[in-house]
Symmetry: C2
Subunit: 363 residues, 2 copies
């Protein structure tokens, strides 16, 4: 049997730096655990535009469809702000999500004990926080048609379309219920059914799917109330399921609650391939951070934990994933901090690669 | 000259209770300051549905169009959850906003010194917080067509349309810039121009309007980053302008930062009427809180401060508005707390009407 295949797309900004640390982890598993991957690397985002005039070359897209999992760093940068919408770095990422049909975006928001003080929230509000947001990722207002800027009378009008079919809601709801079954058996679905018909359909379908998961306690919340409750007392939640746009805001909000954005991974999963593995892309929640790119200041942990998610969700290596997560906890407990995590008295920052090396050493 | 006219719509749940306290304030201004209003009262929301089979009777709508300002309590309750979308309590509120064309929703998020400890955020993050969110209120995905649940193939699809014209963006941007001129001269506009064309148009038009306000420092932020930044360090903002749906989430998030939702008022303003006053509706940010309705537990301050906003924005009585706001601060400094504000040692809650009376006494 051939090795499982990984496509690495470091992307822009700090992407390549943090991905270099992930490569160390991958190498460690190959050398010490006989867990080898066939790794290839390619371009996405601004760097792909620089080379090919498109943020995602068709060849890269084709490769992404074939591999067992894609690891992505980050895309974007001020240099590309002037580009037309259709070739902006983000379009590369959105094309991957859409064409690989990665409908379930898993965004854990976990507060690391050693870092609870970094949150802008009170320690008792966030200490021990562990929620999972499941965001629909291939539909909704991100992709609905018609869309564009049109002439109307003597002015322009900007139009986007929020659009969800029953089957699109059904499949992401099932992903969320499955996760809830493996966790605290509580699922909260968020929409604006009080003002949007797409939200009414969302609520109906989620309720219907819930009948197949009688053990899971299902609740519904308007997304604005959801934003409030996440801020007020986030520990009331276990798994949250919501649409693409609400998920974008709410998962970023939840990430910020933990106080350590540089720590948070994500997984985007699609339907099972022939080999039984889901189509999958893993990426840190943070962006390309152009302001600190190339300075060795970036925190590689979010990207490393994204690889841990790959071990768990693509390769069924839960123990190995836990080993990576424990190594991360251990270096944090030792007091190692990258520059984004400063503030404690007397702590000197370590560089991106020092952090990566320390994690490898803990493995 | 006749007295300015007020239409009071107490609505459902705690609406009538908190509005009763506002009436005391109105009476005080009439008796002690010769500032008399012609007050009429009517139904909106669930109670209107109970009586008329519609959450807003046409006669009430017509009255709202004629008065100088509308004061609204809150709408909704579990009893009405089973109603069809088209007659749900919220539709009454949305019809008022739309037909009065109240395009600029002003949502101050202010942290009251005496209450900074109630926030789930650290005290230094929120103490002294004073931001103003200007939310577009009559367009976007709340009202765009096509909308509904349709059959497509052999399944249903839920559709809503995000839609903004240049003039809709222009007018709300102007409201926001005007407010910024009277405040800290900083305006941040939020959208998702990286994924939505309506956001691109939004950013363009706001930038264009900004040329008329060279003194105002204008910035742009993606709404997901906005949610993060509001959570991380809200004091970086002065005025924020955003669309209807993002504004719904972000203003609720900002409200929750202050830790005292029962304290926050809002104003919804439209174009000037013949008498020069803007069309206007004032309402607390909190909902109808059916769980505590009728028990004298509700906090009337948000509704009272909404009346203060009416004094300021409809009747050009900034001094009188400040007088009400100072009275509120004074009772809080005295340690008076309604049940939503408990937690300090040894504090006994006062009732809704005790709180109202205390504020009147301070006037
Ligand atoms: C980069 C951008 C297109 C993207 C999104 O809006 O989905 C990002 O914010 C995210 O959440 O992954
Ligand atoms: C009640 C509801 C329709 C309303 C909205 O979504 O606008 C509310 O959340 C608000 O913010 O005023």
């Amino acid at each position: 049997m051939s090795n499982p295949s990984l496509l690495i797309l470091p992307g822009d900004g700090i992407g390549p730096e943090v991905m270099a640390e992930v490569s160390k982890i991958i190498d460690w598993f190959g050398a010490k655990r006989g867990l080898k991957f066939d790794v290839s690397e390619d371009l996405v985002g601004g760097c792909a535009y620089d080379k090919h005039g498109t943020p995602l070359h068709d060849d890269t897209m084709a490769k992404a469809q074939e591999v067992d999992a894609v690891l992505l760093g980050a895309v974007g940068g001020p240099k590309y702000d002037v580009l037309d919408f259709s070739v902006k770095p983000e379009r590369g990422l959105l094309r991957l999500r859409k064409e690989m049909d990665l409908y379930a975006n898993l965004r854990p928001a976990q507060c690391f004990d050693a870092l609870a003080d970094f949150s802008s929230l009170k320690k008792d509000v966030v200490a021990g926080l562990d929620i999972m947001i499941v965001r629909e990722l291939t539909s909704g207002v991100y992709f609905g048609e018609p869309r564009g800027i049109f002439e109307e009378g003597n002015e322009r009008v900007g139009i986007n379309t929020q659009r969800y079919t029953e089957s699109e809601i059904d499949r992401v709801a099932r992903s969320a219920f499955e996760l809830a079954m493996k966790r605290g058996k509580k699922l909260c679905s968020m929409e604006k059914a009080n003002v949007m018909e797409s939200g009414i359909l969302w609520r109906e379908v989620v309720t219907e799917v819930g009948k197949d998961y009688p053990e899971v306690e299902l609740s519904h919340m308007y997304a604005d109330a959801g934003a409030m409750q996440l801020t007020r007392w986030p520990k009331q939640f276990d798994v949250i399921v919501t649409d693409n746009l609400f998920g974008d805001l709410l998962s970023d909000l939840a990430a910020m609650l933990t106080g350590s954005l540089g720590m948070l991974p994500s997984a985007s999963l699609g339907a099972p391939m022939e080999n039984g593995r889901p189509k999958a892309l893993y990426e840190p929640v943070h962006g390309s951070a152009p302001d600190i790119a190339g300075q060795g200041k970036a925190n590689p942990i979010a990207c490393i934990l994204s690889f841990a998610m790959a071990l768990r969700y693509s390769f069924d290596k839960g123990d190995e994933a836990a080993r990576v997560e424990e190594a991360v906890n251990a270096v944090l407990a030792d007091g190692l901090r990258t520059a984004d995590l400063l503030g404690e008295e007397g702590v000197q920052p370590v560089s991106t690669s020092e952090m990566g090396d320390a994690i490898v050493a803990k493995l």
